[in-house]
């Protein structure tokens, strides 16, 4: 592709105008309601967005390194919620009491869940994507959809088609900061997500393995010549992505308290939108994209009509690619 329509400043300008109009419209709606409602919606949006950010990181890392939309990623996220749900009775955690005694078991559950999700994701890569690495793009895309269906099917077989209640273990107290009420629950979710995102960004920027990942993403053959073990690096990418998705699954369960076997499909698509919005292949971009999409969702749900929310989000997906294919923070991916 020699010249992309999206790179011209004219297209960017139209995109900016659309974004400005959307923001103005939202601001007008916001001003019709009182400020405390606004802050309540904002915290919900940010906490929701933090979960999307956790999932979006996995999408963006995998896309950055092998240019594959890993459709199974959203289901690895659901798997995290399901595994942790099954582990609660094992560790003797039940709804009702919450306190510092719950921190250690929760941490243990978290670690086991993340490890299991990572094993599943690495296995998927080994079985379904690695043999097709030199095949045309469509081939791994189809196996990704197949793997997504298999994971959903496994969870369906396990728990059936029901909405499952996820124990509400986070404190329900709300802090009152100068008239603005903020839930402790939202704060915990946000902190958790920020800690994980920052930790993994540092890991990718500073560690040797992270450097290998970035090198592989830039040019696989050159990385190979520099002595990087490509297979191991790609497996590590899937491992880290799944760890974050597993953490996202637990966080989602604790925050929303309701999971179902096919939750990963729509959540995954929204998180993928976040990754594209932030600039696919760009790690801080995915985090920011996740937060923004979470806020768009919360605002659209409460200030506009919730039945249009998904239309708005997928509209953003298309608009991003049409007007600014590199996303907000952008990474130029050459056509191979």
């Amino acid at each position: 592709m020699l010249r992309s329509f999206g790179n011209t400043s004219f297209a960017s300008l139209i995109g900016l105008l659309i974004a400005a109009a959307a923001i103005a419209l939202t601001a007008q709606r916001v001003l019709q309601h009182d400020a405390s409602f606004f802050f309540q919606i904002l915290t919900i949006g940010v906490a929701d967005g933090a979960i999307y950010a956790l999932i979006a990181l996995g999408y963006t890392m995998v896309y950055g390194i092998i240019e594959l939309i890993n459709f199974a990623h959203g289901d690895v996220f659901t798997l995290g919620a399901f595994i942790s749900l099954a582990l609660f009775p094992v560790f003797g955690l039940a709804e009702g009491g919450s306190g510092f005694g719950y921190v250690l078991p929760l941490l243990a559950i978290g670690l086991i869940t993340m490890a299991l999700c990572a094993v599943v994701n690495v296995t998927i890569e080994r079985v379904a994507y690695r043999p097709l690495r030199h095949a045309p793009r469509l081939a791994p895309l189809i196996t990704a959809i197949g793997m997504s269906s298999i994971l959903e099917g496994a969870m369906y077989l396990w728990k059936g088609p029901f909405n499952l209640h996820y124990p509400d273990l986070l404190p329900a107290t709300r802090l009152d900061i100068s008239g603005v009420s903020i839930g402790v629950k939202d704060l915990i979710v946000l902190t958790l997500a920020i800690v994980l995102v920052v930790a993994f960004t540092l890991f990718i920027n500073l560690s040797k393995l992270g450097k290998a990942m970035r090198a592989t993403a830039q040019d696989r053959d050159a990385a190979l010549l520099m002595g990087i073990d490509i297979n191991r690096t790609i497996a590590a990418t899937f491992f880290i992505g799944a760890v974050l998705a597993g953490a996202g699954g637990i966080t989602y369960g604790l925050y929303i308290n309701n999971v179902a076997f096919d939750l990963g499909f729509i959540t995954g698509l929204i998180a993928f939108t976040a990754a594209v919005f932030g600039g696919i292949g760009n790690i801080p971009g995915a985090a920011i994209g996740g937060l923004l999409i979470g806020m768009v969702r919360a605002f659209s749900d409460s200030y506009f009509d919730s039945s249009w929310t998904e239309v708005v989000i997928f509209g953003i997906l298309i608009a991003t690619l049409v007007f600014r294919p590199t996303g907000l923070l952008g990474m130029r991916v050459p056509e191979k």
């Binding site: 992309s4 030199h134 269906s149 099917g153 696989r220 053959d221 190979l224 239309v311 997906l317 690619l321």
Partner: protein
Amino acid sequence: MKRLSKLVREQSKNPNAIAYAAMAVAGLTFPGIAQFATGGNADYLVSLAADAGVFVLLAIGLNVVVGFAGLLDLGYAAFFAIGSYTYGMLASQQLISSPLHTALHVPFWIALVLGMFIAAGAGALLGAPTLRLRGDYLAIVTLGFGEIVPRFFRNMREWTSGVNGISALDVPTLPFWITGPWANTELAIEQNFRFVTFNATAWYVLIVILIVASVIGVNNLHGSRLGRAWMAVREDETAAAAMGVNTVNTKLLAFAIGASFSGFAGAFYGAKLSLVSPESFGFVVSITILSMVVLGGMGNIPGAMVGALLLYAVLYKFLPDAPLQAASLAHSLGLDWLNTVVPDGWPGLGEFVSRLKFIIFGLILVTIMLVRPQGLLPSRLRAQELKRGVHDEPVTTVP
């Protein structure tokens, strides 16, 4: 006669000719054989076959986009929805309750063409700004479009009745129709014929005619200048542009022509079911059609058709029937304990088998791609690509 036998001998080694011949024979004889085999109760089977025909049409259309032009479309069901809703709104009482306050009753034959053009227009509208994008960005855009369109129809309650969908659609009419033993009746000519829902054979004949027309059309396109341009763009866009192919227009035409097939498939589907609801056009439908094309053999028309028929049979006949059959098998083997439902535990064999459907669908997709990525009936060119890869091989592979 001599020429015919020569033709048969020549073509007997050509898998495409064999597939076409087999499908033609099966297509012509299916209603008769089905009625004979079931003792005249085959209406359900014939109706199912007519529904399968809709997916054959969809697979032929998607094959133009994905197989010929190499454009990845993950939201093909959106155009199917547009075709269905076009017919639903133009040929029912629906628009009385809309702000228009007038019901339109466009005849089916005209609506079929309209649905085709509107879907093609939607394809061109979506394609114009996005076809300049990199290959997999296009896949993402179509994915988003495929998610938006059904939700849009669901939310436009004034026009489309929202989740309930549009029901009681007009049926096609013809001045006369020939019926006979193949439909389990006496040979006769009916005047002022109406395609009522329970007349499965009529719908079957109609879809077979539509499919034959589409196959002839697409085959001609495939060999035309435009078809060769599609192939060139698919293989190497830069080289095609250097050879004087207008790549953007070529891709846009592939997108619009592909969409037009799902447009009229949608009109047929709506008319036959007499119901158009936003739930029937989700991502799963897009993926199913894509899998049909890939299973059959991308870029090969009879391949896509065979893939559509096979996958349709598995997904809409064998899998829905499997739970009951498994349960009765367990019963006849004296394993009734398998069928007892344990609360919060074993759901019973039938339910268990029906819950396996996602895993089976996933396994089909993964296995095809790993074992035979070129599909059952591949186009020779695509088979080579899929076998040898299109990317530069690494200088060396680490053992």
